[in-house]
Structures are given as structure tokens and as C-alpha cells.
């Protein structure tokens, strides 16, 4: 088996992996020094990132090199690089650990990104609940600044770059890139309508690139070892290693940085397999907003953007939620629907009104009040949300509903017909109302 932890977790074997000293031991900041020393052409960096087949690690999987190439680098005036560390997707916990254990690699990645796109200021928008990661990142900023990697005229190169931390205030929607920009500007976190895209009109109306934490932290490694090396870690068009957050009914939940393209079965084994005496029932492979995949399909799936796509779902942020046969799919969906109902920003109609409707109907079914027409109605409402909203939160709320009912309709039907659950569960079911 290939070696794990080659990219974002490459300092993990040290005692205190987050220090500058330890980061330097793996070659940290060497790439930055070289780029600034050689005045590497921005086009060349973008070309390398393109060749590495690095795809956005935040969920959408958009090719990073292509995104960087959209920036009007030569345009005068301020431009910004923004790191999205809001990490709000249920099931995701990877960016947190990158900032906890390897903050310098993120900083180096952001400085290189800033250099490449012509930005002199960067912001790391960090989920507000991440107290420890925020402190670690701030501490690393102090170290980097003292070492001369931040500030004016970095390493005598004439390049200025300053990096700021911005803690969010606990809204899932602020992980959506344009809502994040609004929040960063001090406004209510609500997505903007696109176009215009952030590359043309971003933070404070200036050209802005927004990348996920893991994406940016991958950059120094790619440039250190070469695009081909990185690409070959994964599969064609799915370059590199990727952190998968294994949660749910596994024996060893946690973050696993593995090559893209690894079979799910292998990944499951890494995480210790499902609990003793239970069978795998279903997997949500990319965070709560991606469609659920039944066990038999999942066991045949490769963990890559394209592989999971073929299985009818999405790799998303790599948050793998594993469910064994003790899971009531109605209850699971109710919990997910409640999340989107609570986290809808309220800006556009289908999501604001539809998420509440979906949750209430599923809640009724879960509590034995289901009606025969409810399942068709749920699908219909979800489809009316899907694709009709400003941002992807509407789609995220609709996808689980459609996929859960598609794959586990008989469980829902049983709930409606019998007013109770067909699954024998570990803990007693009570009437529970969220909110």
C-alpha cells in the first residue's frame, strides 16, 4: 500500500508538528524562498498546479490551476486571496486538523497563492468554533512574520504580503464562498448572485480567489515535489492525496490522508471497519449534502472525484459518513433536513421556504404522523428547490431527501404505514423535536 500522509499531514509524525522548526524539517518555506529568489513567473506556477490535477478540496472539486488563471493578475489595485476554513459541512473535520497540526504549510500556500495571483493581502476565514486551530494558526502567523515570510519586501524580493485571521460567527452558509466574502466585509452572511464571479468582483469588489484550506496547504508540496509526483499520487484527473474524514459507525473514526482513487473498502478497513456485529448499510461519501450511496454500490467504489461521481454521489469535502444496519434512514434524514432548515440563510425563496417544509414533513413521518402522499410530495418539493436557488445550499438540502427516498423508500413507507420504525435500533426511539 502507498504511504499515507504525504501532503497536508506530512508533519504529523513529529512531536509538535505545528512548529516552524518541524515544518522546516520537511522542506517548509523552501519553495517560497525559491520562488521569491528566482522571481518565478506566475504563469509557470499556474501551469504546475494545472498539471498536478489539484482539484478544489472544499466540495465542488473545481481545478485549482484553472481558477487561479481566471484572476486578472495584471489589473492594478488591490486583489485578495481568501482561504475558506469555515468547514461547516456535517461530517467534515479535516481543515481543523490541518490548522492544528500543519498551519505553516497553509501559510506558505497562501503566500505563494498571493504571489501567483498578484494579491498583497490574504484572509483566512476560520470557523468561529475552532478555538484551538485559530490559536495555532495565529501563533504560526507570528512565527512566520518573525521569520520574515510575511510583511513588506519579503526576503528582499520586493513582494509584500500580509495575512489576517478572521473568525466566523457560526453560520454554515458562510462556507459558501460569496457569503464568506459578505461576512468578511462585515455584512450578513448571504451568498451573492453569480455572475459576477469573485475573480472579477470579490472581496470589497476587488478580484479575489477563494480556495479551501486543504487546497492551499497542498500547494507547497506540489511545487516542492513537482506536479507529476503529486498527480501520480492519485489517479488521472484526480491528482494527489486527499484527507477523508471517517465518521459514523466505524471503529476508528478520524482523518485519513490517502491517495485519491483508493477503493472505499480499503479506506473502511483503515478506519477499523464497521462495528462488531453490524453490517454496512449506507455511506454518505462527501458530507451531508451529497447523495447517500447504498452499501453494495459503495463497496465497489473508488474514492476519487470521478469514482464517486460514477456511484451517483459526490466526493464533496471528503467527509465520509458511515452508517451500519442499526441506522433508521428516516431519522438520519430528519436530522440532515433539520440542519438545512436551520442553516438556510433565508435570502431566496425556494430554500427559505422549502427547507422548513421538507423538515416538517420528514419530522411528521419520523413521529408516526406520515401521510401516504408525503413521499411524492417530498420529492416534488426537493425538486422544486433543486437548481432554483442562488447558491448550492438549496441543492444540498434537496439531494439527501431525493437520494434517501430513492434508495430506502420502503423504510419511509413502513414509517408511514405503521407509524414506527422497521429498523431495530441500539437506543430507544423517543419523540424528539429539534429546535
Amino acid at each position: 500500500m502507498q504511504q499515507l500522509n504525504q501532503v497536508c499531514f506530512r508533519t504529523l509524525h513529529f512531536d509538535q508538528p505545528w512548529t516552524l522548526e518541524n515544518y522546516r524539517k520537511v522542506g517548509g518555506y523552501k519553495v517560497l524562498e525559491q520562488i521569491l529568489g528566482d522571481k518565478t513567473r506566475q504563469e509557470d506556477i499556474i501551469e504546475q498546479i494545472k498539471n498536478s490535477a489539484l482539484r478544489g478540496r472544499g466540495g465542488a472539486g473545481f481545478p485549482t490551476g484553472l481558477k487561479w488563471s481566471f484572476m486578472p493578475r495584471k489589473m492594478p489595485g488591490a486583489k485578495y486571496i481568501v482561504c475558506n476554513s469555515d468547514e461547516g459541512e456535517p461530517g467534515t473535520c479535516k481543515d481543523r486538523d490541518i490548522m492544528r497540526y500543519n498551519p505553516h504549510q497553509l501559510i506558505e500556500g497562501m503566500i505563494i497563492a498571493g504571489y501567483t495571483i498578484g494579491a498583497e493581502a490574504g484572509y483566512n476565514y476560520i470557523r468561529g468554533e475552532f478555538y484551538e486551530p485559530i490559536e495555532r494558526f495565529e501563533q504560526a502567523l507570528v512565527e512566520a512574520r518573525e521569520a520574515g515570510y510575511l510583511g513588506k519586501n519579503i526576503l528582499g524580493s520586493g513582494f509584500n504580503f500580509e495575512l489576517h485571521t478572521h473568525p466566523g460567527a457560526g453560520a454554515y452558509i458562510c462556507g459558501e464562498e460569496t457569503a464568506l466574502l459578505e461576512s468578511l466585509e462585515g455584512k450578513k452572511g448571504q451568498p451573492r448572485y453569480k455572475p459576477p464571479f469573485p475573480a472579477g468582483y470579490g472581496l470589497y469588489g476587488r478580484p479575489t480567489t477563494i480556495n479551501n484550506t486543504e487546497t492551499l496547504a497542498s500547494v507547497p508540496v506540489i511545487l516542492q515535489h513537482g506536479a507529476d509526483w503529486f498527480h501520480e499520487l492519485g489517479t488521472p484527473n484526480n491528482g494527489g492525496q486527499k484527507i477523508f474524514c471517517m465518521t459514523g459507525h466505524v471503529n476508528k473514526p478520524g482523518n485519513y490522508e490517502v491517495p485519491l482513487g483508493m477503493p472505499f473498502a480499503e479506506l473502511l478497513e483503515l478506519a477499523g471497519g464497521v462495528r462488531e456485529g453490524h453490517q454496512l448499510k449506507a455511506v454518505i461519501p462527501g458530507g451531508s449534502s451529497t447523495p447517500v450511496v447504498p452499501a453494495d454500490v459503495m463497496m465497489q467504489t473508488e474514492m476519487s472525484y470521478d469514482g464517486i461521481g460514477k456511484a451517483g454521489s459526490m466526493l464533496g469535502a471528503g467527509s465520509v459518513i458511515v452508517m451500519d444496519d442499526s441506522t433508521c434512514m428516516v431519522k438520519a434524514l430528519e436530522r440532515i433536513a433539520y440542519f438545512y432548515y436551520e442553516e438556510s440563510c433565508g435570502q431566496c425563496t425556494p430554500c427559505r421556504e422549502g427547507t422548513g417544509w421538507l423538515y416538517r414533513v420528514i419530522n411528521r413521518i419520523e413521529n408516526g404522523q406520515g401521510q401516504q402522499e408525503d413521499l411524492d410530495r417530498l420529492i416534488d418539493v426537493a425538486e422544486n428547490i433543486n437548481g432554483n436557488t442562488i447558491c448550492a445550499l438549496g441543492d444540498a438540502a434537496a439531494a439527501p431527501v431525493i437520494s434517501f427516498i430513492k434508495h430506502f423508500r420502503e423504510e419511509f413507507q413502513y414509517h408511514i404505514d405503521h407509524g414506527c420504525c422497521m429498523v431495530e435500533q441500539d437506543e430507544p426511539q423517543g419523540l424528539r423535536q429539534y429546535g
Binding site: A171, I173, K188, Y193, P195, Y341, E342, E343, S344, C345, G346, Q347, C348, T349, P350, C351, R352, E353, G354, T355, G356, W357, R360, V361, R364, Q371, R377, E383, N384, I385, G387, N388, T389, I390
Partner: protein
């Protein structure tokens, strides 16, 4: 230009257009709620989703730019499915209380639900309920009905310039409201009533008064400021039920001020004079028109015979129509007097013949300017729509400077605001003029003497540079400056600055005063005589046309005294007021705005004629008819008008016949003399409170209840000035001006010029005092011992 196709119809459209704009221009209907042509695009209601060729999902027509070869389908299966879906979502939490909703019958949600909604709802869960907010006396909220389109929020940010409304809460819990409950302060707030597509924001005074389909719309012109906004009067039976804006891109776009919207409430105030009455032996008696009119003519002639013809004084409100003005002066001149005026609040008229009084500026000129110097103008209250256009200019990069006696938040990006006393204001204007002369040494030799000792400071040089560098600068001289005792000098200096910087000067007219100038409602010597002077002369016979002397004069104390001593007072007025009741001898009830026809000339110089929408209240009569009969009874020749249009034609003909522009030229010669100021005197600065400018506004109950209006009763002073006068802790103040004494609440306000006391005019308080910009002494009023 790009070629697109909507529903199979090929169109050539500007490439800057969104699909919805292209469709609107082509008359293709796309349903919408959040989109509004004057507001930024929000794309949040999703009602305008349409199918676009090559797009896998439906796209919002309001936010999708047209591109070459684009094919749009507004009624395809995909589009209809998306639109119906959105409509269902909008309705699930809407209370559907149309039978008790004021918006019923003119509700965009109701209208569109007919086309896109279902007969029966599939939603069987509980509906959302939202607590109402109290946002003041003008706007009623019913927030459960809100569909969160954010038009009102965007209006505040983008048009009014004041972020009073916003969205709090997330998802289904999102609510529109003022973050902390308070009354809206914007002078344009009423526009959100029109913008709200549902019944969440409705007119509070109009609540439960009428249904949309019961009313008839009459086009008219708003008479309260010099903009002359296009409005629509909604009339049921013989009553004006409400006023809404009428689209007129060249004047008010699609907005109107709260003043224009809610003044109609005064029409049926209990003060309204609805019968001709005469006072006999000190007692008011009802009578018929014939008797009242004869009594009027005989009374005036008797006084004139006894005391001389020139003892007759006629004063007219600047809100009167062109026709009323023309007949008023024609009749009075026929009676042998030249003492006629409508410039009721001016104290300085030496420059009356200057051409700049007639400068016509279109609203587009204002919006397109690139530099503005506001001089003594509270523009947001004087002419809210002008303020709005200046704000748009500022947002487009125009540099705004203001020299005034007080600073008010202009709600726009401003270079600098100075709040200074009269001396400094004049010094600054002179400084700017001199700085410009240095740039242009040859100019204006005739001013050399007057400006010989002036050394411009850096502020003045900065303003001069900005004006000189601008391609289209505008100077606005507003009411505070125009009502100043040195106003002629201020205006002449402003004109000089304007000439040298090749800009436009806007001496902001009051209401319809442009028309009354044309109609010659002026003394024979308009640059030496004026209403203010006439009041001091205490004329024996008075004819008032919609004038309430205690409110409508520069010096209320003198005007009130003159009323008392007059031998015969005729009030052609709409309302009873204290001074009319006490001192008039005849009241001829006058038809109000909305009840009469006439012509309005705003600051753009355009003649806007309108007709009456309702019959005059009670026995009141349109002004032109009253004046015509008075002319007839007084045997003044050529008074045979059948309709108000005859009068207008006569005026128009006389203007083309002899262009009698009495171009005088005013240059101040002597150094300015100010009354000697001692340390314990303050300068009383005063403009007219926004909702007190004319008799009708003063009777609009809702406007009188606004916080803006309440604040007009409070005197304001700079904290440093208060400190110097040992008033820092005073809550109430006694103001003495000559023999006048007034007790008012005091507010310390660092935006007031030092050494000044600000008290808005035309209020119950200010009527107790003398002339604005006079000197006053103040002393603290001891707080009453607690009982």
C-alpha cells in the same frame, strides 16, 4: 447590441441588458417580485426563473445578462415548473388574509398567484407568524405577509441613503425590520409602501380606508416644493383617499417625498374653512358668497378711501397656482396698489432683478453634475427629490461641499461640511470668489473693490479648485441662505463664483414661486420692497391668499402685530388659524390642492398644468374663480375668464409679447454690516421645518406626528457655546428677542455653528419670536421643583 430570441421572438438588444429588461422592453411578461427597475438586482425571489438554451437549470431573468444568440423561453415546461414551484413556496407561509389586507386588489403576489398558483395548497404544516413592528406614523407593518424580496431594504441603502431596514435572522426566521424599533427617519420612507409587492408595508393613514378598485386615479402635481413631482390622486366619491407617485423620469422618476405623499391628509382637517364668513361686531357670521365678496370689495375700498390706496397690501402663499397669482396681482393692481408679494420669508431682496432667479435646471442637469456646493441649504428637507439627485451625483463621483449654519447628515459621500455663523459664511464665499479670481485674474473687475481685503484660506482655495476643475459644477443656494438678512449678498457672491467656475446657480425656489414671479406677484419695485418690509409698515388693509402670518413670514412677531393693527383683513384661505380667527374680517374659503386646476412651474422652468380631482370642500371655491368675481365686483377691466386655461393662455401670450426681463445687476458695495454682537447674544438661525412649510402640511396629522416634526420644536446649540453661556446643564431655555420671549427645550448639538441658536421656523414655538437670523439672548429655565 446582441441578437437574442425570447419565446421565439427575435430581438436586438443592448448588451448591457438583463433578460428581464430585454423582455420588458419588448412587452414580454415575466413574473417577478424582487426585481425593480430602479433598484439593484437581488435575484432572491426566484419568480422570474426562465429556461435558457444551453443552461441545465432555469435562470433568473433579472440577473442573467443577454448574450449573442441566446434563446430564452419564458413559458416552456421547465420555466413554468420553476415559476409554479416558487409561487407555491411563496404562498406556503403567506397568511392569505387578502380579505382584510389593504394590498388586496393591487397585490403583486395576489395577481401572480392567479396565474402561477394552485387552487389548493399542499402545505399542511403550521404557517409562520411574525410579530409586527412599529416603524412610525406613516407606514403600517404586517410582517407575516412579507415575502422577503428586500426591495424596501435596497431602497433604504440605495435611494434613501439610510440603512433603516434590514434583514435579521436566518432561513425561515429571517425578518425585515429596523434592528432596534424606531420610526423611519428618511424623508422618502413612504416609497417603500409602493415598492412592497405585498401587504407587509402599507400606508398607515390609508389603512382600511378604501379598496384599490373603488378609486379613480387623477394625475396631478405635488405643490409642496419646487420640484413639482408628478403624482396620482386616488379618489373615491369626492374624497382624495391617498397620493402615490406617477412615473416621470425627468422629474421624480418613480419616487415622491413623504411630504407629497401624506399632505392630502390635511384636506379634511377640522380647521378647514368651508363657508364664507364675515365678522360683525366681533362675531363670525356665516353668509353667502355674494354677500361675502361684496363685503370684501366694499371693506377694502372703504379703507383705501380713508387711508390712501397704497394702504392695501396683498400677500400670497408660494404654493398658489400661476393662474391664481396672475389674477391676484391683476385684481390688486386694479384696486390701485402695488404692494403685492409672495416672497413671504425673504428679508433681503436687493438682487430681485438678477437673472439667476429664473435659472432653469433640469433634474438630469443636477444628477449629471460633478461638483456641488451647497450654501445655506437643508436640501433633504427643502426639496427631497433634489437631494436625491444630488446624492446620485455624489455616488457617481461628484464632489459635494456644504457651507451652512448647521450640519445635517446628507446621507451621501461628502467632501466636507462647514457649520459656521453668518460672518464666516460670507467670508468663506468671498474667499472662494477671490481664490477663483486669482485663477482668472481678468474676471469681474467690478467686484475688486468689495473683495479687496480678502485673503482666501486653504479651505476656500480647496473649494475653488474643486469648482474650477469640475466640468459641470452646481451651486445651490437654499432656504437658510435665502432667508438670511444678507441673502442678496450671499446670492450675488454665489453667482460670481458660479460665473467664474462656469457652473450653474440654483437659487432654490419655494414651491411655485417661479410661476408667481412670472405672474408678477411682486411689488412694483421688487428689489427694494418686500413682504417683510410691508409687515413693518403695518398696512391698514390686508388681503391674504392662503397665508397664515404667524407661520408664513420672516418675522412672525411683526406680522402678528401688523395683523392686530390692520383695519380690514380679507383671508382667502383654506384653513382657520388663530390669527385669522382673531384679526380677519372676512374669510373666503379657498379650494385646496387637488380641488382646483392650475399650473405649476418648478425649478426646471417647465409649465405643468393640472386639473382638479375632487370638488372643493363645502362651499369653498377655486382661487381663480374667487379672484375673477372679486375682479368683476371691483370693476377691474378684462376679467371675463371662463376657465383657468384662459388665464394661462393670457399669461403665455403676455410673455411672448414683451419679454420684460427686468435685468438688474446687484453688487454689494459697502462692507457687510452686522448688528453689533455682544458676548451674551446668539444668532438665531432658522429654516422652515420640513412638515410646516404650508397650510396644508401643517394640517396633515400623520406628518405632524413624525419624529422629524417633533424635533422642530426643540432649540439646538453647540455644546461649547452652551458651556460659555453656562447652559451646559440646562434642559430648557428662555429665548428673548426684543420683546418676544419663548421657553423651549434645549438640545446640545455639535453640528450647530458656534455662537448660534437653531430653532426651525413655522412652528408653534417659532411663531412667538421675531425675525430669523436676529440676535437673541438666552437664559436657563430652572427645572420645576419636584412635587
Amino acid at each position: 447590441m446582441v441578437n437574442i430570441e425570447i419565446d421565439g421572438i427575435p430581438l436586438k438588444v443592448d448588451s448591457s441588458r438583463m433578460i428581464i429588461q430585454a423582455a420588458d422592453e419588448a412587452g414580454i411578461d415575466i413574473p417577478r417580485f424582487c426585481y425593480h427597475k430602479k433598484l439593484s438586482i437581488a435575484a432572491n425571489c426566484r419568480m422570474c426563473l426562465v429556461e435558457v438554451d444551453k443552461s441545465r437549470k432555469a435562470l433568473p431573468a433579472c440577473a442573467t445578462p443577454v448574450t449573442e444568440g441566446m434563446k430564452v423561453f419564458t413559458h416552456s415546461k421547465v420555466a413554468i415548473q420553476a415559476q409554479r414551484g416558487v409561487m407555491e413556496f411563496l404562498l406556503i407561509n403567506h397568511p392569505l388574509d387578502c380579505p382584510i389586507c389593504d394590498q388586496g386588489g393591487e397585490c403583486e403576489l395576489q395577481d401572480l398567484s392567479l396565474g402561477y398558483g394552485k387552487g389548493i395548497s399542499r402545505f399542511s404544516e403550521g404557517k409562520r407568524v411574525v410579530k409586527d413592528k412599529n416603524i412610525g406614523p406613516l407606514i403600517q407593518t404586517e410582517m407575516t405577509r412579507c415575502i422577503h424580496c428586500t426591495r424596501c431594504v435596497r431602497f433604504g441603502t440605495e435611494i434613501a441613503g439610510i440603512k433603516e431596514l434590514g434583514a435579521t435572522g436566518r432561513g425561515e426566521h429571517m425578518e425585515i425590520g429596523t434592528y432596534v424599533e424606531h420610526s423611519l427617519a428618511s424623508e422618502l420612507s413612504g416609497n417603500i409602501i409602493d415598492l412592497c409587492p405585498v401587504g407587509a408595508l402599507t400606508s398607515k393613514p390609508f389603512r382600511y380606508k378604501a379598496r384599490a378598485w373603488e378609486m379613480q386615479a387623477h394625475p396631478s402635481i405635488a405643490p409642496h416644493d419646487a420640484v413639482g413631482s408628478s403624482i396620482e390622486l386616488h379618489v373615491r366619491g369626492n374624497e382624495v383617499m391617498r397620493v402615490v407617485p406617477r412615473d416621470n423620469e425627468s422629474v421624480n422618476e418613480t419616487w415622491i417625498s413623504d411630504r407629497d405623499r401624506f399632505s392630502y391628509l390635511g384636506l379634511k382637517h377640522t380647521d378647514r374653512a368651508d363657508k364664507p364668513m364675515i365678522k360683525q361686531d366681533g362675531v363670525w357670521q356665516e353668509t353667502d358668497w355674494q354677500t361675502a365678496l361684496e363685503h370684501t370689495v366694499n371693506g377694502l375700498k372703504t379703507v383705501q378711501a380713508k387711508n390712501g390706496q397704497d394702504q392695501l397690501l396683498g400677500l400670497m402663499s408660494p404654493t398658489a397656482t400661476l393662474e391664481e397669482g396672475y389674477l391676484f396681482q391683476k385684481w390688486l393692481r386694479g384696486l390701485g396698489t402695488q404692494h403685492i408679494d409672495h416672497r413671504l420669508r425673504l428679508q433681503s431682496v436687493d438682487d430681485a432683478g438678477e437673472a439667476y432667479w429664473q435659472n432653469a435646471l433640469t433634474m438630469a442637469d443636477i444628477e449629471d453634475c460633478d461638483s456641488v456646493l451647497l450654501i445655506g441649504s437643508n436640501i433633504r428637507s427643502e426639496a427631497p427629490m433634489v437631494g436625491h439627485r444630488i446624492r446620485q451625483a455624489a455616488l457617481n463621483g461628484a464632489l459635494i461641499n456644504e457651507i451652512n449654519f448647521l450640519k445635517r447628515d446628507l446621507l451621501m459621500p461628502v467632501q466636507r461640511q462647514w457649520s459656521v455663523n453668518s460672518d464666516t459664511l460670507l467670508q468663506m464665499l468671498k474667499g472662494i470668489a477671490v481664490a477663483l479670481m486669482k485663477l482668472e485674474p481678468a474676471a469681474n473687475g467690478e467686484w475688486q473693490h468689495y473683495l479687496s481685503d480678502i485673503r482666501p484660506g486653504s479651505s476656500e482655495q480647496n473649494i475653488a479648485m474643486q469648482l474650477a476643475n469640475a466640468t459641470a459644477p452646481i451651486l445651490v443656494v437654499g432656504a437658510l441662505a435665502n432667508q438670511h438678512p444678507q441673502a442678496a449678498t450671499i446670492r450675488a457672491l454665489a453667482n460670481l463664483i458660479c460665473t467664474m467656475s462656469q457652473g450653474e446657480l440654483l437659487v432654490l425656489p419655494e414651491a411655485n414661486s417661479r410661476a408667481l414671479h412670472l405672474a408678477n406677484v411682486l411689488p412694483a419695485k421688487p428689489n427694494s420692497e418686500s413682504a417683510t418690509g410691508y409687515w413693518q409698515q403695518k398696512k391698514r388693509a390686508l388681503v391674504l391668499f392662503d397665508v397664515e402670518p404667524e407661520f408664513d413670514s420672516a418675522d412672525p412677531a411683526t406680522a402678528s402685530a401688523a395683523m392686530q393693527q390692520a383695519g380690514f383683513v380679507v383671508a382667502i384661505n383654506r384653513f382657520w388659524s388663530d390669527s385669522i380667527r382673531d384679526h380677519a374680517d372676512v374669510i373666503l374659503p379657498l379650494a385646496a390642492f387637488a380641488e382646483t386646476s392650475g399650473t405649476f412651474i418648478g425649478l426646471d422652468g417647465q409649465w405643468q398644468s393640472f386639473t382638479g380631482a375632487v370638488a372643493p370642500r363645502g362651499d369653498s371655491r377655486p382661487g381663480w374663480k374667487i379672484l375673477r368675481v372679486l375682479g368683476n365686483l371691483s370693476n377691474v377691466p378684462d376679467f371675463d375668464y371662463v376657465a383657468s386655461t384662459d388665464i394661462r393662455d393670457e399669461i403665455a401670450d403676455s410673455l411672448t409679447a414683451d419679454k420684460q426681463t427686468q435685468n438688474a445687476h446687484f453688487i454689494p458695495v459697502e462692507p457687510d454690516t452686522f448688528a453689533e454682537k455682544s458676548a451674551d447674544h446668539l444668532e438665531l438661525i432658522s429654516d422652515v421645518a420640513m412638515y410646516r412649510t404650508d397650510s396644508l402640511l401643517r394640517r396633515s396629522e400623520a406628518l405632524q406626528l413624525t419624529p422629524e416634526n417633533q424635533q422642530a420644536l426643540i432649540a439646538r446649540m453647540h455644546p461649547d457655546t452652551a458651556e460659555k453661556m453656562d447652559l451646559a446643564d440646562a434642559e430648557r431655555l428662555q429665548i428673548s428677542q426684543g420683546e418676544c420671549v419663548l421657553e423651549v427645550a434645549l438640545l446640545l448639538d455639535k453640528d450647530i455653528a458656534q455662537g448660534c441658536l437653531y430653532l426651525p421656523g413655522a412652528t408653534q414655538n417659532s411663531r412667538e419670536l421675531g425675525a430669523a437670523f436676529g440676535l437673541v439672548t438666552v437664559s436657563p429655565v430652572e427645572a420645576l421643583a419636584d412635587a
